[in-house]
Symmetry: C2
Subunit: 345 residues, 2 copies
């Protein structure tokens, strides 16, 4: 049918690196969701009778725990909702505005979803690869900004965000990596009703496979979001695991600290090898590379069963287990070392 051709022409599949033994391509958490929480969930918390019903999404107890976690007195239940991953929140938000705006290099799904949905979009590159460009946005536009940015991991200044807000655009600030940066612009919700903060359980809480994200915004945005999204968008067990994750935050806190330390160690080492890297505050590092060196590195990593995410200007490497990170450092360190030696002969 011709109708499919138009969809097949505008939409393209979301492609990710093929899964390998040591997979550092999607910024997944290197640690399993805690076995003790799973055990508690299934022995004590799970109510079998909730599986067969159209379970409330969100349920009140999850929203209450999210509010506790946010710790912002100016927020209440009307300011929070959940999504089938942060992705659903992004997807549904795109359906609510006239135009979608984003600044590459950025989260690749902004473009994938805008094309899938057939909405108008404007992509304008970051200035010098790091600053939000001076862009003519206005009411009716929704601007998507990950903070820390993905794939570079650097933070934008609150002045950069406020500039967009003052122009009247709606800003969807994607704080997927907040737990690894400890920087949030949640407080801006006090002053702007054209802002949404999007968060996820996929990264810091090791729950990517269970698809839970949340959004914090003005009551009117949350009301509109709740009307446009699917009414039963997050499963009962996913909501249960998300709530238990927040109730056991101390388990994750230790892991988050380890990942942050490991990220800093990786950055130091990569810098000492002479690589140009970004100042990442996520659970990943970004290494700028020319095409030749990038291809050599991708091949050597692939030989060791490692996949990283391939970008035009470099590679994004998720922080993995110590052993995985060591292989990364050995391969990248070894390459520069042998290049130096070759230069000497």
């Amino acid at each position: 049918m011709r109708i499919f051709e138009s969809v097949l022409n505008r939409a393209f599949p979301y492609e990710t690196e093929k899964r390998t033994e040591r997979y550092l391509a999607l910024n997944e958490n290197p640690f399993d969701f805690p076995k003790e929480i799973i055990d508690r969930a299934f022995v004590k918390e799970l109510e079998l009778s909730n599986l067969k019903i159209y379970y409330d999404s969100p349920d009140e107890s999850l929203i209450e725990r999210i509010l506790d976690y946010l710790g912002a007195v100016f927020l209440d239940r009307k300011n929070v909702s959940i999504g089938n991953g942060a992705d659903e929140i992004i997807y549904v938000t795109m359906l609510m505005f006239k135009r979608v705006v984003f600044f590459p290099p950025t989260y690749s799904c902004y473009k994938v979803f805008a094309k899938a949905l057939g909405v108008e979009f404007l992509e304008l590159p970051l200035e010098d690869g790091v600053y939000i460009p001076d862009v003519d946005v206005k009411e009716g536009d929704v601007v998507f900004v990950p903070n820390p940015n993905n794939p570079t991991g650097h933070l934008f200044g609150s002045d950069e965000i406020e500039k967009l807000l003052r122009k009247g655009a709606f800003v969807a600030l994607d704080e997927a990596y907040y737990e690894f940066s400890k920087v949030t612009y949640l407080e801006l919700l006090n002053r702007y009703d054209n802002l949404a903060i999007i968060r996820t359980f996929s990264k810091a809480f090791s729950l990517a496979g269970q698809r839970v994200g949340y959004v914090v915004s003005s009551a009117s945005f949350v009301d509109a979001y709740n009307r446009v999204r699917l009414p039963f968008n997050v499963s009962y067990i996913s909501q249960l695991l998300a709530r238990l994750a927040l109730e056991n935050y101390q388990i994750f806190e230790e892991r988050i600290n380890w990942i942050m330390n490991e990220r800093e160690r990786m950055k130091e080492n990569l810098r000492s090898f002479g690589y140009r890297i970004s100042d990442s505050r996520g659970n990943f590092v970004f290494v700028y590379l020319d095409a030749n060196e990038k291809n050599v590195i991708l091949q050597r990593l692939s030989d060791k069963g490692i996949a990283v995410r391939n970008f035009k200007d470099g590679i994004r490497i998720s922080i993995g287990l110590r052993e995985e990170n060591e292989i990364i450092l050995n391969v990248l360190g070894g390459l520069r070392e042998s290049n130096k030696l070759e230069g000497l002969t």
Copy 2:
């Protein structure tokens, strides 16, 4: 912001009856998802390492089990995908066509989603409340038909569906209640590429809270659907439970037979009381009522902690546990009995 006003004007929340002790309003399965399957899932099948990753949606093993269950040799993996409930399949399909068509009384979410998405739609009532009207549809239209219909539960003839297919419209045939009707038009996929069959694990498999539906169609529709939907749309644990449900079909088969028998018993009794009912093949019955009698019945059921679904022309009552069904029969039987007595005095 004005932008929210337009969304708030077009979209309205999906309203359901308030949850009560005995809830027969949403055609949920009266039986819990089997404890033995949950135990097997968490003791033997669950791989903890899958929770932290962006787990494939769908995974191959679930698709294989669905194909086995369908048992149609002309179908392969390219013909099947899954959704966050059948609802996501409906929602995403609406985004792929120029106009949405449906025939009330029908599944209420067709209108809710069309308004939420802001897509053009045409609603044309069923002729005599049961037949698909002669409608001018063409390529670019998607026609949603539940079969058995919801809320009446009656079946449409394959000639009625083929008439739409021959006009070139895309038909999304919603077989959510297939297991209770044992009638499917899956075979039509052999002859028409403008047809999708939508199914769900929410009804016969007691998994409404876990949000898993599936769609069977031409490879080109499935390809387009996979590009427009969220890439990771169904959680790991939900996929696991859906697969285990199919692998333990015999447990559900017995329950399905019980529900079908109970439905027939309810229909016979309601008819014997003098009520006008539809020939429902779902896990529910529909009783046509005038406004006065309906309000009396809703009040009496409410007094006993029972919620049923309220429609303009009557009420839809889900088949519940034996005890719940007995209360229904007592209330509805008692009312007609006392009316008769009053008529005599």
